[in-house]
């Protein structure tokens, strides 16, 4: 993974000092809350329902053991002993005090961590495939580009006061695990007809009030040109994005208003000028230099046939079940990718205690693993595990409550913090996730249902990515009472689609039955190897709608 040099370290140290001064000025009354708010947001500090919340950046979701230990320390020293992993691969602490934040940031800086630009109207954490460097279908490790973009976007003088937030994601595989088409800017690493590796750039994707799928603005951008291209897109957005209406300020609105062709034209005009100046060219040596940081570990020469692993699978039903869902094939023979579920049945999705986080650091050290990953689905990933180590690792995870065998299944639910924590929320999302999880706890039933991504957001800001859920749930407020809208058929993968709303919202005591109802329709109607998503796409939402509203007094 990337390691700071003196320059990176100094940038973070300067930012800590700067933020400390900003806090001092705020407390001394030299800054009003209105002036301070964008400044604290640019350092990931929100004021939520119960307390301040600090969102710490985890660049492309990669964490080393010393960083995990520091996060556990932060949880203990400054917070209430736990953290929450987010849908953008970051971690949040919910009970931070403003006066402690500069010290917490100083502590984080000692392990090359920060909270720079995790909120605010600036370029946010660049996310990437959580299986980077390990997946069999990977063309190139997306974190190389993500790191280059991270540096270029950090404290960018021209783009720190954008119309709205700006989120970038990178995928390096055919199968898109980074949801690039739902980002303000998404990059797919591709090979062109001449065999050269370059980038397909999308712009204008997004969730929220008006979800959009991104349009291609750069069919094939050469590696050395990518920063010039990204800067061109940012400049067009900064100049022309709407400033009059907060709900119409994202780039997706601009792309839609201009139309993709005009957007491309403006981007190309800007891009040609920047490219001609040479200022942002990424030389091959620089690409190679950064790539070195992400070189895979020295894999042992192993057979992919691992008899001990197979024996353990045969001997233990629990281990067997876990390998069915939580173990993914690795590009190196004898290795595997292991998903650590943070979705225990009935638990709070994405939360981890300081004990668990510390224990994971120990686990990495014990098995000689240099890093783990945070996925945008609020789980953790061990990217490079020797198959023969899996039984022992499973046992350790199990003892920590981190071995729920449900990756990708119905109980692997994504939920935003919702009205239990968030100042913006209209309804609670976590209790709904918990109830669905408990309703479908039976593992055989989960396997029968198969792959099913349920995503729950507590408000229109869609931090739970409900538009991209096979089943999406949106909490709404009707006269101070919580209601839940159901939508089906969304996907954040390379086959990106936005879910269709079924109809009127359900009460909090009705929504779980409605979800069970639509799953029932899937089980009745599916053909062959269809997943839930496939059946919805094939038969349309009518049969699901009928079932969800069966028993409603009026005709839908």
């Amino acid at each position: 993974m990337y390691r700071y040099d003196e320059f990176d370290a100094r940038v973070v140290a300067d930012r800590v000092k700067q933020f400390r001064y900003q806090v001092e000025r705020r407390l001394a009354g030299e800054l009003t809350e209105d002036e301070f708010k964008p400044l604290r947001l640019m350092n990931g500090l929100y004021l939520q329902l119960h307390a301040y919340m600090l969102r710490i950046a985890v660049p492309y979701g990669t964490l080393a053991p010393k960083q995990l230990r520091m996060l556990a320390h932060i949880a203990r020293k400054y917070d209430k002993g736990y953290g929450h992993f987010t849908t953008r691969q970051n971690i949040q602490f919910n009970w931070i005090k403003l006066v402690d934040v500069p010290d917490a940031l100083a502590d984080l800086a000692t392990v090359e961590m920060h909270a720079i630009q995790t909120s605010g109207n600036c370029i946010r954490n660049v996310t990437a495939d959580h299986f980077a460097g390990a997946a069999r279908d990977e063309l190139e490790d997306p974190r190389i580009l993500a790191e280059i973009v991270r540096q270029w976007s950090t404290l960018h003088p021209e783009f720190s006061f954008l119309p709205r937030k700006f989120k970038i994601a990178v995928s390096g595989s055919e199968h898109d695990r980074a949801a690039v088409k739902f980002h303000d800017m998404g990059v797919e690493i591709i090979r062109n007809d001449e065999g050269r590796v370059g980038y397909r750039v999308y712009a204008g994707g997004g969730m929220g009030r008006t979800p959009y799928i991104g349009h291609v603005v750069g069919d094939f951008v050469e590696k050395q040109d990518i920063l010039a291209f990204l800067e061109a897109v940012m400049r067009v957005y900064n100049q022309s994005g709407r400033r009059d209406n907060l709900f119409k300020a994202r780039i997706k609105i601009l792309v839609n208003a201009l139309g993709p062709e005009e957007m491309r034209r403006q981007v190309m005009r800007e891009f040609k000028e920047i490219k001609a100046s040479g200022a942002l060219e990424v030389p091959a040596e620089e690409l190679a230099r950064i790539a070195q940081y992400f070189a895979p570990p020295a894999f042992e020469v192993l057979s992919d046939n691992a008899p001990d692993y197979e024996a353990a699978r045969a001997a233990s039903p629990a281990f067997h079940a876990w390998t069915e869902t939580n173990v993914t094939p690795h590009r190196a023979p004898g290795y595997a990718i292991a998903t650590i579920s943070l979705k225990p049945i009935g638990g709070v999705p994405g939360d981890a205690t300081h004990e668990q986080i510390d224990a994971l650091a120990d686990l990495l050290d014990e098995f000689g693993m240099a890093e783990l990953r945070v996925s945008h689905e609020q789980n953790l990933v061990l990217p490079h595990v020797r198959k023969k180590d899996l039984p022992a690792i499973f046992a350790k995870l199990d003892a920590l409550g981190l071995a729920t065998p449900n990756a990708g299944l119905v109980t692997d639910i994504i939920a935003c913090p919702g009205l239990d924590y968030c100042d913006l929320a209209n309804a609670r999302s976590i209790p709904i996730a918990q109830k669905i999880s408990e309703r479908f706890a039976d593992l055989d039933r989960q396997h029968d249902i198969g792959e099913l991504k349920i995503k729950i957001s507590g408000c229109i800001n869609a931090c739970g990515h409900h538009h991209a859920g096979h089943i999406g749930v949106l909490g709404v407020d009707k006269k101070g009472v919580e209601y839940y809208q159901l939508q089906l058929g969304g996907s954040g993968a390379e086959d990106a689609s936005i879910g269709d709303i079924l109809g009127p919202a359900f009460g909090k005591d009705e929504i779980v039955d409605a979800v069970e109802g639509v799953i029932g329709v899937y089980l009745e109607r599916r053909e062959k190897n269809e997943r839930f998503l496939d059946t919805v796409r094939r038969v349309g939402i009518e049969p699901f709608k009928e079932r969800a509203y069966a028993g409603w007094a009026f005709h839908i």
């Binding site: 040099d5 900003q22 540096q151 003088p157 021209e158 006061f161 100046s277």
Partner: protein, 184 residues
């Protein structure tokens, strides 16, 4: 404190409402060489700054005068609207109606880079101490600030970030360039 006329309490940005401002240019306090004219004010003999609307209306008369001329742009007015007349202008004033409106960062950058403007780029309106360094980087060299803002604060703002990652209009060496130098 908020730097322009923000003292922690909201005040109107318009200079003609009698708020005391000072001009920092190239890191020092200077006298304003120009008079900023309202759209209906008569023209004095010396340097003037007019709104884009007035410039577009009275262009010929204005450029015919043998006196320094500047145009003040609102945040939604692109410098490209000045076309070739930019060459005749010695100062462009870019407004920040609210510090959150960051369009002027791109206008300044455009003036320096695409349009090759070498005159003064002056910031006016609502902007914060915390934006000054970024503003300097994208090409602002003059700042209309509240009377009690000190040069020490200005210098502090300029020095807060030791290194920068990305190139901008100021030509400042980037971290990548420094790394390359360190390796030689």
């Amino acid at each position: 404190m908020g730097v322009s006329h923000m003292t922690g309490e909201k005040q109107a940005p318009n200079a003609s409402e009698g708020i005391s401002l000072r001009l920092i240019r190239d890191g020092a306090f200077v006298e304003d060489q120009y008079v900023t004219l309202g759209d209906d004010d008569p023209q004095p003999a010396n340097g003037t700054i007019v709104s884009l609307a007035r410039f577009e209306k009275e262009r010929d008369a204005l450029v015919a005068r043998n006196a320094p001329l500047g145009v003040r742009l609102k945040s939604d007015e692109s410098p490209e609207r000045l076309g070739e007349d930019l060459e005749r202008l010695s100062v462009i004033v870019l407004e920040f109606p609210k510090f959150r409106d960051g369009r002027a960062f791109s206008w300044a950058r455009m003036l320096r880079t695409r349009l090759g403007f070498k005159g003064e780029i002056r910031a006016t309106g609502h902007f914060l101490y915390d934006q000054l360094a970024h503003m300097r980087r994208v090409g602002f060299d003059a700042f209309e600030v509240r009377e009690n803002f000190t040069l020490d604060e200005f210098a502090r703002a300029m020095g807060e970030m030791t290194y920068v990652y990305q190139p901008s209009a100021d030509g400042r060496r980037t971290i990548r360039e420094l790394r390359a130098l360190a390796r030689t």
